[in-house]
């Protein structure tokens, strides 16, 4: 029953504007915060870290093999070492090549420029730049097998990260809103 002491609203806008605001559930921010992506590192830092890690792999691994104390690295007969190491490296490289090709096929399916937003594009661009840096290193002639394995592993890891970023955004885009919005104020 309306209180007769209450003043009648002047118009419907007054009446509706007088409705009290509604409070969302108390844990709304916590739930949203859990869904927000982690703050990415600054672009330059990410790319240089990736390149530095790759260069370090090339620079340090041979040094380690040259300077390891006697016995630190088992020394089977040279022929056996060569065969075993070469076989292992070949097997690992084949597996890494296969995985790399599979991930590239997945990425080709995921890529859709219509759905890209600025932040996701920036992150994707950075990861692709990292992969391009690895590819440049892989193109160096006469790379040691162990170094090749390291670099291909880095490549696979980066492709997985890229698939995660582009897959997540595509899922949100498919389950969310169209990208354009009428500017109406």
């Amino acid at each position: 029953m309306p209180d007769p002491r209450q003043t009648s609203p002047r118009d419907w806008s007054d009446a509706i504007a007088a409705l009290p605001p509604a409070a969302p559930p108390s844990d709304s921010w916590e739930r949203l915060n859990a869904r927000l992506p982690r703050k990415p590192q600054p672009r330059r830092k990410r790319v240089w870290l990736a390149i530095a890690a790759s260069l370090l792999a090339i620079a340090v691994l041979p040094w380690i093999y040259m300077h390891a104390p006697s016995g630190a690295i088992p020394s089977p007969p040279p022929s056996a070492v060569a065969t075993t190491d070469s076989t292992n490296a070949d097997t690992q490289l084949q597996a890494l090549h296969t995985e790399s090709a599979r991930l590239e096929a997945v990425l080709a399916q995921l890529q859709d420029d219509r759905m890209a937003d600025g932040q996701s594009m920036a992150l994707s661009t950075d990861i692709r730049a990292h992969i391009a840096g690895i590819d440049t290193l892989l193109s160096q002639p006469a790379l040691d097998d162990a170094v090749q394995v390291q670099l291909w592993q880095h490549r696979v890891d980066a492709l997985r990260q890229l698939a995660g970023v582009e897959g997540s955004y595509r899922w949100m885009a498919v389950n969310g809103a169209p990208s354009s919005e009428a500017q109406v104020y």
Partner: protein, 188 residues
């Protein structure tokens, strides 16, 4: 005079810049400023706390993703409100509630220009009456009377004509009068 929006909150430029750079604390401050306006708008349009909660989450997630797109040539609150309205209406479309509207014939209906009944001063009564309206009609009423959108703007948002918006508004206020159990004023 158009109603003032609950969204009309000035946000400091540096806060917007910090949030655009991905600073979580700055974004949380923006979230805190607008969580009630967004939730309230979503609740009035969708009619359900659960759906309003999802609209709030989706709106703020989208805002976080697109903070860097804000150019500063219009009020931030208006830009954010637009995202919220689109999310709420899209949810209605997805759940097919947007087809629920008061059927109107093609005749021009006279505008309901009389003052609202005294019962409209009672927030609980008015809220109950609004909840009883079909979703589309309630959405038009809220966007027009609650947020100050014009019929042309409402038509663009709902992909209908301005005539449709006017008809729904007129029918909606008439229905509110009935629901509030007050007789309509006589037309001049």
């Amino acid at each position: 005079m158009p109603p003032s929006s609950r969204f009309a909150i000035d946000v400091p430029r540096n806060l917007i810049a910090q949030a655009s750079n991905g600073e979580r604390e700055a974004f949380e401050q923006i979230y805190r400023l607008f969580e009630k306006p967004v939730f309230t708008l979503a609740l009035r349009i969708c009619g359900s706390r659960d759906e309003a909660d999802e609209v709030l989450q989706d709106t703020m997630l989208k805002l976080f993703q697109r903070m860097h797109e804000f150019r500063g040539d219009s009020p931030f609150w208006g830009w954010l409100r637009q995202i919220a309205v689109n999310e709420a209406l899209m949810r209605l479309r997805r759940t097919r509630h947007l087809v629920e509207e008061i059927a109107v014939d093609e005749e021009h209906l006279p505008a309901d220009s009389g003052p609202p009944p005294h019962a409209a001063a009672d927030a609980a009564l008015l809220q109950r009456a609004l909840d009883a309206l079909p979703a589309t009609t309630r959405a038009v009423l809220w966007l027009y009377h609650g947020e100050g959108y014009t019929h042309e703007q409402i038509a663009a948002l709902m992909q209908r004509t301005p005539s449709f918006s006017k008809s729904q508004l007129s029918r909606g206020t008439r229905r509110l009068r009935v629901l509030l159990q007050i007789e309509e004023p006589a037309h001049a």
